[in-house]
């Protein structure tokens, strides 16, 4: 997937090619949905924002100019949708304390071994708490980067400089790591399991 390819797909969709849109949608739907789901921690809100973001992409198809990567364009729309949602409903503070929607909004542990599930459930609970405790800016940068965007793209979407984005990301990772430190074994094994540089 290249920038030109995504931009070309969007341009083709603007000219009436629905197949191009389907290709775009398949490429980016998972990452976008994960980002929104973890931002909102509420499946219903995530669904709404997900649909709203794609609706805006659809509506703006004729104005689209491939000056930046389509992924940046898409995530910026989603980011703004989330910001607007927070402003509308003042849910940012509510969401910080919300626990209802967490289930299913974070990756679930694989395997059926009861002991493994208990360990990983504990890790997830800590991770969830750490993520919720992050400042909104750091959490936003962290989730954007986790969604697969580059640091430059994250900086563009967050409307900050690249160094600021990297700094926020560094703080976020440090806090998450500190929170997960008590489960050092699991986390260490996770870090050791890094096998795909640049993935």
């Amino acid at each position: 997937m290249s920038t030109d390819e995504d931009g070309d797909l969007m341009l083709r969709y603007a000219r009436g090619d629905l197949r191009a849109f389907e290709t775009l949608y398949r490429r980016h739907k998972s990452a976008l949905y994960r980002y929104l789901a973890r931002q909102t921690r509420n499946p219903e809100i995530a669904n709404d924002l997900f649909q709203e973001a794609w609706s805006k992409v659809i509506v703006s198809r004729e104005r689209y100019e491939p000056r930046a990567q389509f992924r940046t364009f898409l995530f910026r729309i989603a980011h703004n949708c989330f910001i607007d949602h927070c402003r509308r409903a003042s849910v940012r503070n509510e969401a910080n304390g919300a626990e209802d929607g967490w289930e299913g909004m974070l990756p679930g542990p694989e395997g059926d071994r009861p002991d493994s599930r208990a360990e990983q459930a504990q890790l997830l609970a800590r991770y969830r708490a750490a993520l919720a405790a992050l400042p909104a800016e750091q959490r936003d940068v962290f989730l954007l980067y986790e969604s697969g965007l580059s640091l430059d793209e994250v900086a563009t979407i967050s409307a900050v400089g690249a160094e600021t984005a990297k700094s926020r990301l560094r703080y976020a990772v440090a806090k998450l790591r500190a929170t997960l430190a008590p489960l050092n074994d699991t986390f260490s094994s996770a870090v050791a399991a890094i096998q795909e540089p640049g993935a």
């Binding site: 998972s30 949905y33 659809i58 990983q120 440090a174």
Partner: protein, 282 residues
């Protein structure tokens, strides 16, 4: 200086993009219904947008992920050329509204605008008022509301109740004011239309004028106000005025009659009017 461990963890995160172990497989996906809704919206947007020339939307497969292709769709540049510019509709609407407003304004402004006939009538009346010594009060209360009064116009005062109506160009003698102005010192054309109330108005003006000016005023009144074309009708009116006790008016009318029909007066042997020469001034 930062902690080397933290740097290492951060670098690891930058590579792996997750702080969670790999065993936490991230299988978060949007629901199928959401996929269906988004794709439907995209399809509807294309369908409701500018329809491709000759192209038809064809569903290649059923179900939420149905592939829809455009058959016979034109090239992108071709389709763009047939799409009207975005500003076309607002500009067209604005132009239409502006045109309608200008038409309405023009019509409403011209409704009460004085016609040339009315302006001439006002000028004639102003002249008549000036000749009568400019001793009249304003009779604006007697003028119909739709009649325009020129600022410099002086309307003949003390008219009868029908005087303004008699001067109206819409009266049965539409050419009377124009004729009166053109033949101010001539005898009025005998074919002038009938205007029964006009003599009353000019009579009132004559009655208030100085006695020395009577012949001139009477002649001018004869020229200004139309009279019956038939001398017998005019004489009957004069008789009616005398019978009603308006002897002054009757005398003035008789003067006008003599000025208008000198031959008729000679034939019938009407008594000469005092102070009026047998032939009216020309």
């Amino acid at each position: 200086m930062t902690d080397p461990d933290q740097d290492e963890a951060f670098e690891a995160f930058l590579r792996r993009r997750s702080v969670l172990p790999e065993s936490f497989a991230d299988k978060l996906e949007p629901p199928a219904a959401l996929d269906h809704a988004v794709l439907n919206e995209a399809r509807e947007a294309i369908r409701s947008g500018a329809a491709p020339d000759g192209g038809t939307m064809v569903t290649a497969a059923a179900g939420p992920t149905a592939a829809v292709t455009t058959v016979g769709a034109p090239t992108p540049g071709k389709q763009q050329t047939h799409r009207p510019p975005r500003w076309a509709v607002p500009v067209a609407l604005a132009a239409t509204v502006l045109l309608c407003l200008s038409v309405v304004l023009n019509v409403s402004l011209n409704t009460n605008r004085p016609t040339p006939e009315r302006q001439r009538a006002a000028v004639v009346r102003a002249e008549a008022g000036a000749d009568a010594g400019e001793q009249r009060d304003s009779i604006s209360g007697d003028i119909p509301s739709n009649e325009v009064i020129l600022p410099e116009a002086k309307v003949a005062g003390s008219p009868g109740p029908h005087a303004p109506v008699a001067a109206e160009p819409a009266a049965p003698a539409p050419h009377a004011p124009m004729q009166a102005k053109a033949v101010e010192h001539e005898r009025v054309d005998a074919t002038a239309a009938y205007a029964p109330h006009a003599p009353v108005q000019t009579e009132a003006a004559t009655a208030t004028a100085a006695p020395a000016d009577e012949p001139r005023v009477a002649a001018r009144s004869a020229a200004v106000a139309p009279h019956p074309a038939d001398p017998k009708v005019w004489l009957r009116q004069i008789e009616a005025l005398r019978a009603a006790g308006q002897n002054d008016h009757a005398a003035a009318e008789m003067s006008r009659f003599r000025a208008a029909f000198p031959d008729y007066a000679a034939k019938t042997g009407l008594p000469p009017s005092p102070g009026t020469p047998p032939n009216s001034p020309k």
